[in-house]
Subunit: 251 residues, 2 copies
C-alpha cells in the first residue's frame, strides 16, 4: 500500500521513526509530519498563516516533509499536494502515551486520522499506552501484523480506527479487543503562582478518572494487556437526546 | 442562572459582547475567554506552558477574565478556579460564522461547549451563520428566548447543544429545527508561492461541499431560514462498524 504517515509529536520523534522503519519494509511510505511537538493541539488547522513544507529523509530511503503546521494540516497538504491524492492509507502515530476515552477530543494524533477520514481515506491512529516506558517496536509490529489480516478498505467513509497498544514486549501482548470510547477523563487541577511582576498564573495538570468499567471500554482492554481498537466517526450527533429535544416547543 | 461565557474569537469580539449584553439582563454572567483570536483551534489545551488570566470588565457590571489560552483552557480554568464550580450553564459564542457539519471538529467555539460537557455542566455552543454580515443580536435574542422554554438541566451528561442561528433580523427567523451533524465539509485547495529565499510555502483555503441533503441536516435548516439545534456528544464510537470489526481474527 501507499501510506501517508503523520503524527503530533513531530517528525523527529522516536514513535514515528519506529513506525516508518516497520511499515516501509512492506509498504511504500511517505511522511508528512509537524516540524515540532504538537500534542494536545486537537483538530486545529492553520488558516491565517501560510504553511511551509521542508523536504527531508526520515530514515534511509523514506522521504518526508517537515511542516510548520498541525497534524490535520499535514494530512490535508500531504493528500492534496505532496502525495497527489495517491494514498491507500493514512497512519498517525505512534503517539508517545495513550489516546483513550476523552483523550480523543484533545489528541493531535487522532485528529490526523480523522482528517484522513474526512478526506475519504482509510485512516488509523496508533498510540503507545505508556509515556514513560514506551515500547514503540511492539506497537509498530502489531500494526504491520494487523494490516496483514485486516483490509483497510473496509473502514467506512467518515470513520477511522483508534488503536492503543500496551507498552510491553511484543510477545506479552495478549491479543486485541474491539472497544468503545470510554468516558476516561481528567479532573483538572490548577496550581496558582505569582510572576515577578505580581500577576497570577496557573499551571494545569490532571488526575485521571477511570469510572467506566466494562469489558468493551478502551482503557479496560489496555489495563488487561490487550490492544484496544476503537472504531470512531467524525459525527458527534447524540441520537437519543435528539428525540427528546423534538418535544420542546417554541414559547 | 449563573452562566460562564466563553468563545474562540477573543474576549473583545462583537459576538461575545452582544451575547453578554442579552444574557446578563436575566442571568448572572461571568466571562472567561481567550485574550485573542483562537478560531480553528479545535479542542487544543495548554499543557506545557502556564496560563495567565487577567481580570477585566466586559460590559458595565459584567466581570471577565482574558486568558492566554484556548476555549477549552478557559472553561477548565473558569469552572475549577475562577467561578469555583458554581455554574449552571456554559455558553460558547457567538461565533463569527457557522459551525455546521464537519466544522464541529475544528471549531474552538464547539470545543468550549464540549469541555463544559466533559466537566459535567450543561453547555451550549452558539454561532451566527454569516461571517460577512453577522446579525449577532438575532442569535443572542434567540438564545435568551430558548432558555425561557428549555430547561438546560435536561442536557444529558457528556452531551451539549450546537446552535447555529441564521444571520437575519430576528423577526425573519422561521423557527428552529432539531438537526443532526451533516457531512458538510471542505475541498481543500493549496496555493503554492515562493518566499524571498526560494522556499515553497502554501496558503490553504477550502470550497464548501454540501451533498448531504435532508430536512434534518444542520446546514439545510440554516439555508431554509431556521435555527439549527444539534445535540452532540463527546463520544465518537462508530457502533455499526464496531460489530463488523469483531469478525476480524488475529492471523
Amino acid at each position: 500500500m501507499r501510506i501517508l504517515v503523520t503524527n503530533d509529536d513531530g517528525i523527529d520523534a522516536p514513535g514515528i521513526i519506529t513506525l516508518v522503519k516497520y511499515l516501509s519494509r512492506s509498504h511504500d511510505v511517505q511522511v508528512v509530519a509537524p516540524d515540532s511537538q504538537k500534542s494536545a493541539i486537537g483538530h486545529a488547522i492553520t488558516i491565517r498563516t501560510p504553511i511551509w513544507a521542508k523536504e527531508t529523509e526520515v530514515i534511509d530511503g523514506v522521504k518526508g516533509y517537515a511542516v510548520n503546521g498541525t497534524p490535520a494540516d499535514c494530512v490535508k497538504l500531504g493528500l492534496e499536494v505532496l502525495m497527489d491524492g495517491n494514498v491507500d492509507l493514512v497512519v498517525s502515530g505512534i503517539n508517545e502515551g495513550p489516546n483513550l476515552g476523552t483523550d480523543i477530543l484533545y489528541s493531535g494524533t487522532v485528529s490526523g486520522a480523522l482528517e484522513g477520514a474526512l478526506m475519504g481515506k482509510p485512516s488509523i491512529a496508533i498510540s503507545c499506552s505508556n509515556q514513560s516506558d514506551p515500547h514503540y517496536e511492539s506497537a509498530a509490529k502489531f500494526l504491520v501484523d494487523f494490516l496483514e489480516v485486516f483490509n483497510v478498505a473496509e473502514i467506512p467513509r467518515f470513520s477511522a480506527l483508534n488503536v492503543n497498544v500496551p507498552s510491553v514486549p511484543y510477545d506479552k501482548i495478549r491479543g486485541w479487543r474491539i472497544t468503545r470510547q470510554s468516558s476516561r477523563r481528567y479532573r483538572d487541577k490548577f496550581e496558582a503562582r505569582k510572576d515577578p511582576f505580581g500577576n497570577t498564573y496557573y499551571w494545569m495538570f490532571g488526575e485521571i478518572i477511570e469510572d467506566d468499567e466494562s469489558d468493551d471500554a478502551d482503557y479496560v482492554a489496555i489495563n488487561n494487556g490487550y490492544v484496544s481498537i476503537t472504531p470512531i466517526s467524525v459525527f458527534l450527533t447524540d441520537w437519543d437526546f435528539m428525540e427528546k429535544l423534538k418535544e420542546v416547543k417554541w414559547g
